[in-house]
Amino acid sequence: MKKGEILGIVGPSGSGKSTLLNLIGGMGRPSSGSVTVDGENLSDLGDAELTRFRLEKIGFIFQFYNLISTLNAAENVALPMAFANVQTEEREKRAKELLRVVGMEHRFDHLPNQMSGGEQQRVAVARALANNPPVILGDEPTGDLDSKSAKNLIELIRSLRREKKITFILVTHDPLVVEGCDRVYSIRDGKINKEFSQTDINHFKLSKKGDSMDELLL
């Protein structure tokens, strides 16, 4: 993978997309083989080291946002920095800055249940950015969003990739997400089935046929 690339992973459910994502994200260890991310062989790491790896190298975006319900937007964003022992003042400053980056500066002290799905996912993106990770993983990041929010989120992801050179790996079913990717892998039965380049994606995008994406996903 190249740095600052948006990689899509598509495939039917049960094909192993999420497992792949968990392996890359250091949340599980391979039963065989090895996973190397940013020069670190994850299969060699213990639980504490894997946790530190997740904290420093990986940002997560979940389908259901997974914000901590008792913390407001700024506190949620500051949380990974707290785990990394960043000073309180520095945390607050950076949390506000990141919320501004994702366009949520008006929601600093709102609790998750006071925000819409799209807003929550933006806060979640800000949280993923907290410790400046080189890689952000998304598991169906638009799975719970309406198309307008989904489009906005993809715009945000593309701008972050441009400006911060962050690598995104997004597991998705959503054609809108696929359209925003630089490269797409299709997975079936745990193996990479097909690789689609930007040209392929653009081709499907231009055809504008309702079933074009199905073709791509197969």
Binding site: G25, M27, T51, E56, F62, N66, I68, S69, L79, F83
Partner: protein
Amino acid sequence: MAYRSLTRRKAGSILSISGIVVGVTMILVLLSLASGTSASTTNLLRTAVTAQITVTNSTTPTLGGFTPPKGAFTIGSGPFGGAPPTGSGNGFSFLNQSSGGSFATFFGGGNTIPQSDADAITGMKGVYAVSPELSTSGYVDNNSVLLYGIIPPSFTEATTGLDIVNGSMLTSGNQVVLNTVLAQNLGVVVGSNVTISYSSLNSTNTGTSYTVVGIYSAGSTFGPTSRTAYVELSNAQVISNKAGLVTEIDVKTTSPSLVHSVASGIQNSITGVTASTGSSVASEASLSSSLTIFFIVMGLVALLAAAFGVTNTMIMSVSERTREIGTLRAIGAQRRQVTMIFMSESFLIGAVGAVVGAFLGIVISLILPYFSSSVSSSGLFGGILNGRLSTSLVLSNILLCMALGIVVSVLAGIYPSLRASRMKPEEALRYA
């Protein structure tokens, strides 16, 4: 984060805090009751129980602290007379005197100790009351009796006192209190005058006139103890010519638990005396301490219930927040950090519960005595408390209860916290 999670999930927090509050309140009220009761019980026992230590001359045979006039103890006249006091009567009266003197010998009246020993004992730590007594043979209206010299207020404080059935206790001057049987035999009543002498009356020995001010019941109508008369110690010393001497010192301690240490203290610091303790001492001490233990056990049971409450709420909180814990682990929280979040949550529950519980406990302890009239005076409590609830608030008790509340809450949080930290992030995340 723990603080936020408490303040923003009010219902759950209030429930677990209430558990600790109830536990801490209960244990504090029970402890206050226990110390209040043990204070009042000690007072009760002090007045109801006879002297716990009997100090006699170490050459005098003692009968396990048996204090002669208070029991029904029968004994015949012994063949050996007591040591004749210097300058006592004439040779003619020797025979009579010897038969009377034998009482005194057997009841510890034979060998004397200085009355000043009583002053030394009074100054000792843990001593509540000291009663110097002189027992001697004597005659009331020419009837051989056992004559007791006492200091009335000290005697009443240090022993159960005399069960006066008629008249009153000695105050001062030439007054005498007689046993009911003796009074009957002599045919005297309260207000009558009797003649008391050391030896039998004759032309040269006319005795001294005393006024009968009271008649007491010893409970027993048999034996020589029924032939007993009480006069003031100074009078008895004059009658028997034993100025500044006593045969026995009865000592009562401030607390039943101090009896043995006070007894050995007396024995060690005063030469030539034996300080013997009665068997009743142990039972008094155990009654008082078993009450305290009873209250403490009740309080601990309450706190244990609270501990289960906290564990339960914490476990529920953990399983409710499985996804949150998974998220925390995914975004980089170490196990240790997850444990800390949940432990601080249970610590906060404990701390808030302890403060509120201590406050409630103090309030209840303060107002409880005012409701005492509505408490029925039956059963164990009735007997001990005499229908009155007394509480005493001690700072150390309050702090102890607060500490217990916090410790229990933290302990109760350990298992749920560890469970939270052991969750695998990917599994925790999948959990909806």
